[in-house]
């Protein structure tokens, strides 16, 4: 049967949407290193989309460049997805481990990243009338990635198709919940910090007399 290098396995998964991930699972393949590189590339893609898209297509607010929202939109969203999916599917008889989910999800993102890089690249050489090419390539990547993601989750958890879809929808809900709690926690800690700091200043003033 199949024998590939780790990169070969990635290629196999991307170009064989139907049984690629099943093979990957069967052969117990998939590299965490590559997955992390893909996630990093997702972030780079976000930055490139904002900074390198052709001038006539770029709608970004150029006065301020803040990398944090981009980081959140790529890396944080990805890991929230992984954690939410793992947390949810562990409860629903999913066979995927955290590592597996992370690797498979990252592999599924490859067409999206590649296609948006291509669309960013060609946006520098086309005019408004030809925007359709850009959009087409972008959506090709997006849809391909969605298909792969469904297959990846199906393979990772050994679910039926319907169950996969349902689990993915619930994963998104869980993601929202996690992010909401995270923000809540963040603001709480900030208040605790402010509280601590005011106690510190109070004591400092008293000591100084």
């Amino acid at each position: 049967m199949y024998e590939f290098t780790p990169m070969g396995w990635l290629k196999h998964c991307v170009f064989h949407p139907v049984e690629g991930f099943e093979d990957l699972r069967w052969k117990k393949q998939g590299s965490m290193k590559i997955a992390l590189v893909i996630v990093f590339l997702l972030f780079v893609n976000m930055v490139a989309d904002r900074q390198l898209t052709g001038f006539q297509f770029n709608t970004a607010y150029v006065k301020v460049f803040n990398v944090v929202p981009l980081l959140v939109q790529s890396v944080v969203y990805f890991f929230t997805w992984v954690i939410a999916n793992w947390a949810l599917c562990t409860l629903f008889d999913g066979e995927g481990t955290l590592k597996k989910i992370c690797i498979y999800s990252a592999y599924a993102l490859v067409p999206y990243i590649v296609c948006s890089f291509i669309s960013i690249f060609i946006s520098n050489f086309i005019v408004e009338d030809e925007r359709i090419w850009m959009t087409a390539i972008y959506y090709l990547g997006l849809i391909w990635s969605v298909v792969l993601m469904i297959q990846a989750m199906k393979a990772a958890h050994q679910y039926s198709f319907t169950k996969t879809i349902v689990s993915m929808i619930f994963t998104i809900v869980a993601m929202l919940l996690i992010l909401f709690l995270a923000i809540l926690l963040l603001s709480l800690f900030q208040q605790v910090y402010v509280f601590g700091y005011s106690i510190y200043t109070e004591i400092a003033y008293r000591i100084r007399g």
Binding site: M1, E3, F4, T5, G8, K27, K28, Q29, F55, Q56, F57, N58, Y61, V62, K63, F125, V127, E128, D129
Partner: protein
């Protein structure tokens, strides 16, 4: 007198200093000039207008009205100031300015150059009512049918619009009276015309208070011909909610409900092409300023995908001068001789000037603050322009503030005039001057970019459009630039493509014969995952091992041979 020369010197020095000080003590404008950039952020700009003078009753020489020898004697008790004057009209042919001096129940005629009074009319002869009662609107033009100057007065409290000719400096004689239409279509109880405007065919349009279906239109003969150019209802959450309630409400409930009606517009003006421009006072995004064609259709329709914005863009804006937040309330507008649009904001006392295509040109003027500075405005009631001047009528300070364009303003206006005619190259010089004075002036870069594009200097044009952040024009310029690039480098591009194709063909041919170009790229593919549990990989692993052993044996044999030698 030990050192008379020194003394003289010091005195003269002091005098020179004092003189130069009085020269350099230049009165700054009472407002901060600003404009909006592509992200609707306010950015500082140069003043395009400065206050030339303020003209009160005294400067208008209203004392002439009490002087029997003055040429326009009215009475010994004629008021010497304006009182809540509401409207201005400029007759360019006769070089006159007419003022509706509302609370004094009179219309004043001023000389446009000096703004001194040349006529005062407190009534019109030959009409149903002799005297004016709080006339709020005035419009002066030359009548094509009569061939002479005619004055239209919106005589508000007398419920009529009077069309009159001037017979002397104190006498108007009535040509026609337009009164409340006695038709079923006109449903309002009252007829209180506030503003009046006349087109080339001498149709009379009048804004009537508490009529919200547009301005009331009369034919020349005084026949009511309908309503013209109504505003639309602004869609707010409340309006949508009421629309929903209406669907389920009973008839009795429906009767009790308030109706959503459009807001009547505050003022209008007509340009020389016959388009009527209306302005709506209450803060509304829907129909703040409209340009109506003769059919009453709004040409500047935001619903068609364009975005026409008027007044301050931030909605409510904090003004450090008056220390309060303002909500834009556009009260009057004026179309200048060259087609520029001046829109007056009642709330801030600012005039927003736009070109024909609704590009913001400049913002000037300020509301009276606690320190009652000259050139600030308390109740701006009307705005008019003529040549390089803009006149603002103040209903509370009872004066007219005259703004005159600065050198910067002159360059902008010249540049815009040429730009709007499409003479981009001619406008270049003026845009250069504008940029020299205000590097933030975005439209200048658009103008320079278009000039460069016209002259086929594409990379320069692209640079300008990028600076102006004008994506639409950049796109156009890029298309031309790309075509030009392809044309210039056609041969090179073809050669490169051919070389690449030939390379691949050759490669394929060589591959067939077993020679590999760039083969090293694919070498690593043969690697095997050692840890795999599948049997086949174990087989290959053993195969690999065998190979390695065989190689070792070969080497050993070689070594033996060497030893043997």
């Amino acid at each position: 007198m030990k050192h008379p020369i020194r003394k003289l010197l010091s005195v003269s020095l002091a005098a020179v200093t004092a003189l130069s000080m009085s020269v350099t003590a230049f009165a700054d404008e009472p407002y901060n000039s600003y404009t909006y950039d592509n992200w609707d952020d306010a950015i500082p700009s140069q003043s395009a207008y400065r206050v030339e003078k303020t003209v009160t009753g005294a400067e208008m020489k209203l004392s002439k009205l009490r002087d029997p020898a003055g040429g326009c004697y009215v009475s010994d008790k004629a008021p010497l100031t304006l009182n809540d004057a509401r409207d201005l009209s400029i007759d360019k042919a006769a070089n006159e300015m007419w003022v509706a001096d509302t609370k004094n129940n009179r219309i004043l005629r001023l000389d446009l150059a000096t703004l001194e009074v040349t006529g005062c009319y407190s009534g019109v002869s030959g009409s149903s009512v002799e005297g004016f009662a709080a006339p709020q609107g005035v419009f002066v033009t030359t009548s094509p049918s009569l061939g002479q100057q005619v004055v239209y007065v919106a005589d508000t409290d007398n419920s009529r619009v009077v069309k009159a000719t001037v017979s002397s400096s104190t006498q108007l004689s009535c040509v026609h009276e337009y009164t409340k239409p006695e038709e079923a279509l006109y449903t309002a109880q009252t007829f209180n015309p506030k503003k009046v405007c006349v087109d080339v065919a001498e149709n009379v349009y009048t804004v009537v208070s508490s009529v919200n279906s547009g301005s009331v239109q009369f034919s020349r003969e005084g026949k009511f011909t309908g309503f013209y150019g109504a505003n639309r209802v602004q869609v707010t959450a409340a309006v949508i909610a009421q629309r929903l309630w209406r669907m389920i409400a009973s008839d009795e409930q429906l009767e009790g409900m308030t109706r959503n009606v459009p807001i009547e517009y505050a003022n209008f003006d007509i340009d020389k092409d016959g388009f009527i421009f209306t302005v709506t006072e209450v803060d509304t995004d829907t129909d703040a300023v409209k340009k109506l064609n003769p059919a009453g259709y709004n040409i500047w329709n935001n619903a068609k995908g364009n975005e026409y914005k008027f007044g301050d863009l931030t909605g409510s804006q904090y003004d450090p001068l008056t220390k309060k937040s303002h909500v834009t309330r556009l009260t009057d507008l004026d179309i200048s001789d060259t087609g520029l649009i001046n829109v007056m904001d009642y709330e801030t006392g600012r005039v927003f000037q736009y070109d024909k295509e609704c590009n913001l040109i400049c913002i000037f003027g300020a509301k009276t603050s606690t320190s009652d500075q000259r050139g600030t405005i308390a109740n701006p009631n009307a705005v008019e322009s003529h040549g390089e001047r803009v006149y603002i009528l103040d209903g509370s300070k009872n004066d007219i503030t005259v703004f005159i364009e600065t050198q910067f303003g002159k360059h902008i206006h010249q540049a815009f005039a040429l730009y709007d005619e499409g003479r981009y190259t001619d406008a270049k010089e003026d845009w250069d001057q504008v940029v020299r004075r205000d590097g933030n002036y975005i439209q200048a870069y658009v103008g320079l970019g278009k000039a460069a594009l016209n002259e086929e200097r594409y990379s320069e044009a692209l640079d300008y459009f990028k600076t102006a952040y004008d994506q639409e024009d950049y796109d156009k310029a890029y298309k031309y630039a790309r075509d030009a690039f392809l044309k210039d480098h056609f041969t090179l591009i073809i050669i490169v493509i051919v070389v690449i194709i030939v390379f691949f063909i050759v490669k394929k041919m060589l591959n067939k014969r077993g020679i590999r170009i760039l083969g090293f790229l694919k070498k690593k593919k043969q690697m095997v995952s050692v840890g795999s549990a599948a049997g086949i990989s174990v087989n290959t692993f053993t195969q690999y091992k065998k190979d390695a052993e065989a190689e070792q044996e070969d080497q050993a044999e070689d070594e033996e041979e060497e030893e043997g030698k």
